[in-house]
Amino acid sequence: MLTTRQVDAYHALTVVAPRIAEGFRPGHFLGVAVGGPHTSMLTRRAFFIHDVKPDYGGTVEFVFAVDGPGTAWLAGRRARDTLDLVGPLGRPFPLPRDPVTCVMVGDEYGSAMLFTVADALQRRGCRVDFVLGGASADRVFGAMRARRMAETTTLTTEDGSLGMRGRVTDVLPGVIADVRADVVYASGPMETLRRATAVAVEFDIPIQVAVEERMACGIGVCMTCVLPVIGDDGVTRMVRACVEGPVFRGERVRFDDVGTIPFDALGAPGGGSRNVS
């Protein structure tokens, strides 16, 4: 059972799902079945949870852009249709113990999942500042809500139709310096996460990123969603974004090697193991 609304370039679906709402922590995502009965589309689509409310025993809301046939089907759902969800999935954001200053960096629909994080941070006494961006004004999600809750909100668009012209990562150094940020939380395309991590490393502050890798199961059994991440022991492993992530410490993710098996990763071909299949 659901309600649906359009927010600029995005669609937002709210679904009654008490068990998911109950288990929710900021950073969690959903697996959504698409296409209805006898569809030819087998895999669930992954969406970050945007919001959770206590109405009707518990609702979850997610925000999405139409990309391919699955999201097109979702965009066609009407009020009171039912939806088949699995969740909450993934490892949520770790929250700091102390009341630190946090910069939230959201790009495109990636912004949608940051508000529950910001809420949780504020409840712990943290200061929150937002940097939100997108290709154009209609693709910057949540600017109003950010302005209401954050100390400062900086907006960017690539076409300059809203806020500063450029990318979120162009303005991030300035924001970090101005607000004397202690930590960065980032969500958006891989390239944005890579750049945001570079900025945080430059400032020598920690960054938590929510990555988006192609997923088929979302529960850790299919090995689709791997990326090279450096472990506590310094060893790079191909870890699953769906269960070991999607939230990682930015500097641990080998962004430049995403889409490859780095030669020094555990079990890499030639790295002592033979290539069996």
């Binding site: 895999t43 059994v221 191909m238 490859t260 079990g267 069996v276």
Partner: protein
């Protein structure tokens, strides 16, 4: 009405015929959050290799019509970590475990079997023959009866007699019956089919292969007709060899289809990605279907579609009469 769902892989009894397919159930712990693994017939591990493997680069998976194409490349921890971490976890919980193995040479398969020989908790050993033979220009073992038979003979020779050895076959061969026969003759206690046929998908935006690995394995309902045909052909030729059937099973109806074709065990793979607890649903649906057809024992419907078209199915009541 309850149905006696017990089934046998050689002399090993399984509580019911629904197992997970190799490489589709992680290490077990992931699925355990969704349902009690003790309630299915068995869990099949991913194919365990000698050394740890990082697998293929991403993208590793793409959707095709009613199918999934994967190029994971057997990512896994290697046999040492499997024996110290994953198998004990399963054994402690008394989860029936079919261990799948994959190798690049006959010797490697044999060495893997030797390592698993004394490990507690191995219900059966499934030999994934869809691995490239590095001593034969990377030709996949499963393509050809002789290469498959050599692997099976080597594994059977070292594996303790009370652990059934299951040969896992691929549809990518000119004649699955001859590969099946070669495996059975060289000591396979059971056969498992089908592994993923090789497929490919091209991203028409980038105009490049959709998977980093180029080709990949096709799974899901799209391949079910191939699976049913392979099980049917092998059952017709080798009626006494137990068959683990798999390929596109999403529902109890689908499992029943493979059982009618001749499978005594049915593995669920891709369906787990959509519905993590699908095994239990499929088991329940299967039991309902068997009961609705008037049978009290799963054993009575295995291979039933092979009866001549005119013949009526041996019905529950017939069975009761004949058992008097």
């Amino acid at each position: 009405m309850s149905v006696d769902m017990r089934t046998y892989l050689g002399h090993v009894e399984l509580a019911n015929p629904i197992v997970t397919a190799a490489g589709c159930a992680g290490s077990g712990a992931e699925l355990a959050q969704f349902f009690d693994l003790g309630r299915i017939g068995a869990l099949t591990t991913r194919s365990i290799t000698m050394a740890p493997r990082a697998g293929r680069p991403t993208p590793r998976m793409t959707e095709t019509p009613s199918g999934l194409l994967n190029g994971v490349g057997l990512q896994g921890p290697g046999v040492d970590a499997f024996l110290t971490r994953e198998l004990p976890w399963l054994a402690q919980r008394n989860i029936r475990t079919v261990v799948s193995i994959g190798g690049g040479t006959v010797a490697e398969y044999a060495a893997l079997a030797r390592r698993l020989n004394d490990a507690p908790g191995v219900t059966a050993l499934e030999v994934n023959l869809s691995c490239p033979n590095i001593e034969d220009r990377g030709r996949v073992f499963a393509r050809d009866g002789a290469a498959s038979a050599e692997v099976i003979a080597a594994v059977r020779a070292v594996m303790r007699y009370d652990v059934p050895v299951v040969a896992k076959l691929s549809p990518d061969t000119a004649d699955i019956v001859s590969v099946a026969r070669a495996c059975a003759t060289s000591g396979a206690d059971a056969l498992s089919m089908i592994n993923n046929p090789l497929g490919m998908s091209i991203d028409t935006e980038t105009m490049l292969p959709a998977l980093a690995a180029g080709t990949g394995g096709l799974s899901g309902p799209a391949i079910r007709p191939l699976a049913v045909r392979c099980v049917w052909q092998v059952r017709a030729a080798l009626p006494d060899v137990p068959i683990i059937g798999m390929g596109g099973v999403l529902t109890g109806r689908d499992a029943f289809e493979l059982i009618l074709a001749g499978a005594c065990v049915v593995a669920v793979g891709t369906a787990l990605f959509h519905d993590p607890s699908s095994c239990l649903r499929i088991l329940r649906e299967l039991e309902e279907i068997v009961a609705a057809r008037g049978y009290q024992r799963l054993a009575d419907v295995i291979g039933l579609a092979h009866r001549p078209p005119g013949a009526t199915a041996r019905h529950r009541t017939d069975f009761e009469e004949s058992s008097l």
